[in-house]
Symmetry: C2
Subunit: 129 residues, 2 copies
DNA sequence: GTCGTGGATCGAAAAACGTCAACATAGAAG
DNA sequence: CTTCTATGTTGACGTTTTTCGATCCACGAC
């Protein structure tokens, strides 16, 4: 199931060095390559249906949501939901696994955190709990 | 200059109550209205040129950048830059003012912070400096 | 006033996007 | 095997977006 189209890794999830790992918009101008990668992730968030899908998945207590729960929550067709889920997955925001008849999706919080870090102004310090 | 098309206020910049002010993606599913407003702001970030423009403006020490500095930094035409700046302004991410011959843009960090808060997973606590 | 420059606006063309109906695929149950 | 259900994929269509050249407006200089 995880072999469709390859997932983005533009945010440097694996090899974070020091500062090259996560650009911050308020710190320095993005170069074209960083901007292109980040833009694709933000673009994935730039649709109301995808935002609601992501929030339904990311806010789920158990961490996983079956597609059969997502589809009836919208007024668009099932192929459209499937298409949006694919885009969210290609953006590295969610992942999925087939278990029997059903497919379950979960959020990838590392991507969300890194996106938040890109936007965060430097006036607030973060302390890990 | 600030009378073109009206600026978005979907993030509740003015009247933040308690939790209704700033939805958090990992806390609860977004309703359709919240998602529509947030999607428009994220869509504004979903373009490489706009991301670079925003980072050039937001990272400027003095806080202001003249359009005459932004335009030659890209390989697209001046009307295109003007168009992207307009979209960023309609998203509430930047604002501008004409001063004599030139127009200066600056970032609106409150919008950036609120977007970051929407994405932030609950596992990290923030402490204001 | 006229002229020149910085920047926004106006169409228009090409590309990308969102959506659907139709079809394909994977697994469960007979 | 066949059949049924849950999802993903394909191809097409209408809409939106991105980009440009041409034009217009605001301002300073003269």
């Amino acid at each position: 199931m995880s072999k469709q189209t390859q997932t983005l890794t533009v945010l440097g999830q694996d090899d974070q060095d020091d500062a090259a790992c996560c650009p911050v918009i308020t710190a320095a101008p993005l170069d074209a390559e960083q901007a292109a990668g980040l833009a694709q992730v933000f673009k994935a968030l730039g649709d109301p249906v995808r935002l609601r899908l992501l929030s339904m998945i990311a806010s789920r207590e158990g961490g996983e949501v079956c597609v059969c729960e997502l589809t009836p929550a919208f007024e668009v067709s099932q192929p459209t939901i499937s298409h949006h889920l694919k885009l969210l997955r290609q953006a590295g925001l969610i992942d999925c696994e087939r278990r029997g008849t059903w497919v379950y999706y979960w959020a990838l919080p590392a991507t969300l955190d890194r996106l938040a870090a890109v936007l965060r102004a430097p006036q607030a310090a973060t302390v890990s709990a």
